[in-house]
Symmetry: C2
Subunit: 254 residues, 2 copies
């Protein structure tokens, strides 16, 4: 037996998120099926990030154990040929057999795209949040700066969280305009349930003048979901990459 890690990209539009559930198709389930078709084994992958319904990924990670003679790096192509076009295994590699993608210290990077234009765009409707009111990027950048660092993000977390602690570290949070889009990029050591979408919703409130950038510290201090802005819709969000916490020699939470 050996353990193989997959880097998976997908368009979340047609899936009820990552995690297997009854009565709804998920990315995990489609991967498990393709693995069974390929190897003949009953395989249940373990994902690094359980993205929500409608959320996309360029670099989610999944591991599984297999007795298959297929070389680990060949799984990417062999699986992609058996997957629908909205899921692609970008690469595959062997990892140590005690490696578990949710127990390793990593940095995750997400992107949130806001289409800030007078009219909606049918060609980007599945990948952006359309806001027609002009959003002030400078104000959003000022607000974003307050969120960088280690904070209790309880105000930026769905009350449905099962996390033991709501303290997280954001390493970087940038807000940039590219033509009629505003793109948020956030890198952190882990994200609470809906955290990036609540950050996006709150920064949009700042951008349209509804909330002052200087109010962010108060919102953080409140530790109350009611203090922050709305949860931005899922289709604007893409999990870009999950990378090992390079500067930590231990690199596990065990």
């Amino acid at each position: 037996m050996r353990r193989v890690e997959l880097t998976v990209a997908y368009d979340g539009t047609n899936y009820a998120g990552w995690q297997v559930q009854d009565n709804a198709l998920t990315v995990e389930e489609v991967l498990n099926r393709a693995l069974k078709e390929l190897t003949g084994e009953e395989i249940a992958v373990t994902g690094a990030s359980r993205t929500d319904a409608g959320v996309h990924a360029r670099g989610n990670l999944a591991v599984f154990d297999t007795a298959s003679p297929i070389p680990p790096e060949k799984f990417a192509r062999a699986l992609s040929a058996r997957l629908p076009k909205d899921i692609c295994v970008v690469s595959s590699r062997e990892v140590p057999e005690d490696y578990h993608p949710r127990r390793v210290k990593t940095r995750k990077t997400y992107e949130y795209r806001i289409l800030n234009s007078r009219t909606p765009d049918p060609l980007r409707r599945l990948y952006t949040w359309h806001r027609y009111e002009p959003l002030d990027v400078t104000r959003m950048q000022q607000a974003a700066a307050y969120l960088v660092g280690e904070h209790d993000f309880a105000s930026f977390c769905s009350p449905h969280t099962q996390a033991k602690t709501t303290v997280r570290t954001i390493h970087a949070l940038t807000v940039e305009r590219a033509d009629d889009e505003i793109r948020l990029r956030v890198t952190g050591n882990g994200f609470l349930y809906n955290m990036v979408r609540i950050i996006a919703g709150t920064l949009a409130e700042v951008g349209r003048g509804q909330t002052a950038p200087e109010k962010i510290p108060e919102i953080l201090a409140a530790c109350d979901r009611e203090a922050s802005g709305p949860t931005a819709p899922p289709q604007g969000l893409t999990l870009i990459a999950i990378t090992p916490e390079a500067d930590d020699p231990e690199n596990t939470e065990k």
Copy 2:
């Protein structure tokens, strides 16, 4: 009665093209239905460009006559509210009652997007043509230069054309790399059936080293569809805009 022009954007993925046909849903049909719902009138719009199945648009034009009291510029919003999210009327305005969008001299601009990357991208699968072999943009630019100007484009036209002449003028044709995408932009006074897609397919052959850039004049001179490259798939193509031929005081073909 007055004549109203609509500027229409759509994602062509789920449509059998623009033009009404039996047993398949088209953009034109969906627009006609929304107009009936809005005005109570049986309206059949006339489109400026009959895009193919799977081809997208940011600025196709359609005109219709109506006795409705709705102000012409209000049709955009009122219609968009009645349309599925993959079709949007970007703007609307009154036009002279003898104005016909296919009888006026215009410039059309199309964009063709090639995703030139080792692995496919599920998030761009509906809007790009994926080519994994490295394409040389400089060679593609050299080839493109030969196509600019007035030429007989019979070699770049589906044999199924009904056009009286295959002579057309390309005003500009640019090829640019943006990260892992290669974008072709072409502006001309009119395009033959499949012309932009055959240009894209031929330039891709040049880009991967299969055809020399200097062979383009020969390909043009052959006036034979067999001389050029393959027809690139529809999903990479977007009709960007149709604008009046400004420097022509007559501005009609009548």
